[in-house]
């Protein structure tokens, strides 16, 4: 069993997200860095889309009640296993009674970890293990993990040999594609979006990153409500852009100035309050290439791992 001994700021069960139900108003949910989910699972030979634990900001602690192989990915929240530092991108072996703790970091916001074989009592609901925190279903009882919760896993096998994987960097440069409503917004809105640095506001959460900048992009444009998704950058009339993230609603009525490319949306998993980011315009071919590069990274790791076995 994995026992939650300190729940931390926000800790929840996630996977790569819930698809196929958006027309019923069901949001994607899922890890803000789905790539880290795949890597954690691959390090343990789990299916890549198994449930993982997303630790936000840190200050969380867990106890293994039996021996277990586990993998840690995502940002470095200065994790320790039995008081010894451990690092994202590696798999480790915990002894019964070992504590896994997360501190905090100025440069990282989210870490991911999972156990070999996955958490057996976590069921897939609407095709996903993710917790829908707004609608209270999925994951562990439809809520964030709390102190005293126990997560079952298969009886631990013998220790696996150490194995690590290079994680693609997290940067504060985020590539975007120009959005569909730029010609309705005041002229220069998109240019200001990509030419200015933006600061992540403290009111940001898993639904969206709210941004403050030197110039506001305020306007009085309204559009018909349309489908939106994680990565869409909406400009509300107040002019403070919102980058929609995994828990965003399925439809929205604010004009869309840009979309973050799929490969770079994971950067928002590590951007904390008061940190700056820059948007860089790219084209569709570059965006698709960036996604292919991430897929190739996974494929290469899989190949290397199988050759070593």
């Amino acid at each position: 069993m994995l026992k939650v001994t300190k729940q931390g700021v926000m800790t929840s069960i996630q996977d790569i997200g819930r698809f196929g139900f958006r027309h019923y108003g069901v949001c994607r949910s899922g890890a803000l860095d789905p790539f880290a989910v795949c890597l954690a699972n691959m390090l343990l030979d789990n299916p890549p889309h198994q449930a993982v634990i997303e630790v936000t900001i840190g200050l969380a602690e867990f106890e293994f009640t039996k021996p277990c192989n586990f993998a840690l990915t995502g940002g470095c929240l200065n994790a320790k296993l039995a008081n010894k530092p451990i690092y994202p991108g590696w798999r480790y072996y915990a002894q019964a009674g070992d504590k896994l703790s997360f501190a905090t970091s100025a440069n990282a916001q989210r870490a991911y970890f999972t156990v070999q074989g996955g958490f057996v009592a976590i069921e897939s609901i609407l095709s996903s293990y993710s917790t829908d925190l707004q609608a209270s279903f999925g994951g562990y009882r439809g809520r964030a993990l709390e102190q005293g919760d126990n997560l079952e896993f298969e009886h631990g096998s013998a220790a696996l040999a150490p194995l690590g994987v290079k994680q693609p960097e997290y940067t504060k440069q985020v590539r975007v594609l120009k959005g569909p409503h730029c010609d309705k917004l005041p002229s220069g809105t998109f240019e200001q979006l990509v030419n200015n640095p933006w600061t992540v506001s403290e009111t940001s959460n898993r639904m969206g990153a709210r941004l403050n900048g030197p110039s506001l992009l305020n306007h009085d444009v309204s559009i018909a409500t349309q489908a939106v998704h994680p990565g869409v950058i909406q400009i509300p009339p107040s002019g403070e852009p919102i980058v929609l993230l995994n828990d965003c609603q399925t439809t929205g009525g604010y004009p869309i100035a840009a979309t973050v490319i799929d490969a770079d949306l994971r950067m928002f998993s590590q951007l904390g309050a008061n940190q700056q980011c820059h948007f860089i315009e790219c084209d569709l071919a570059q965006a698709l290439k960036a996604s292919d590069k991430l897929s190739a990274h996974l494929a290469q790791f899989n190949l290397a791992k199988n050759n070593n076995n």
Partner: protein, 218 residues
């Protein structure tokens, strides 16, 4: 002039949007028909109708060029009558504690509460689209005479099952949540249950008829 256009939102969201923000009933039916034709393909992860558009999420983004054209052809071919609709009859207890805004709405519209109930329940609504909360269906169109802006101060907690109106729409809250709509009544139906598939009672295009319950104003 073309009535619609298509574009790519991000890398994989194919949007077919009407050139108007306020579709006619016939254009709306054609959007539902288009949704159904897109559902016949396995090229999409999600297909999401909205007020004046349909967005289809491509499983393989590299197919976008083909689908930008193909979707417009499907729109051109979409016939209003190409889909079957489900009709839901919803039993509503109007007024008193179940519909705390009924009296206020009636006063503001210069009608009696009974007239408001009658006007709200004598027309057939259509699910334009879902959003805001899982299972939250935007039901159009509310008779013009009942149309009011949203409340200036939203309620912190609207109870699950509340039957509400705002602007040209009606809706039922599938779960308790903050909300700025006027609450006319309450229904006992479960609108969203993630443990069953489909999880939502209402789907885009469905018809909804409200039936006043004898325990409330009717």
């Amino acid at each position: 002039m073309l009535e619609a256009h298509s574009y790519l939102l991000g890398e994989n969201a194919l949007v077919i949007a009407l050139n108007t923000d306020k579709p006619s009933p016939s254009e709306q039916r054609r959007l539902f028909a288009l949704t159904v034709s897109l559902q016949h393909s396995d090229a999409f992860l999600d297909i999401v109708p909205a007020k004046a558009s349909v967005t289809a999420y491509l499983a393989d983004p590299s197919q976008y060029n083909y689908w930008l054209k193909k979707a417009m052809l499907l729109w051109e071919e979409s016939e209003e009558v190409a889909f079957n609709v489900k009709t839901h009859h919803i039993d509503v207890t109007y007024g008193a504690a179940q519909g705390p805004d009924l009296l206020d709405v009636a006063t503001r519209l210069n009608l009696s509460p009974k007239q408001v109930v009658q006007l709200h329940s004598e027309c057939t609504y259509q699910v334009e689209f879902l959003g805001f909360l899982p299972g939250f269906a935007y039901l159009g169109t509310l008779p013009q005479i009942l149309q009011l802006p949203r409340k200036s101060t939203p309620r912190k907690q609207v109870p699950k099952g509340a039957v509400a109106i705002a602007e040209d729409l009606s809706a039922i809250y599938p779960s308790s949540s903050p909300g700025g709509w006027h609450l006319l009544g309450h229904c006992a139906n479960t609108l969203f249950d993630p443990t069953i598939n489909p999880p939502s009672l209402f789907a885009p295009g469905d018809k909804v008829i409200f039936i006043p319950n004898k325990e409330g104003i009717c």
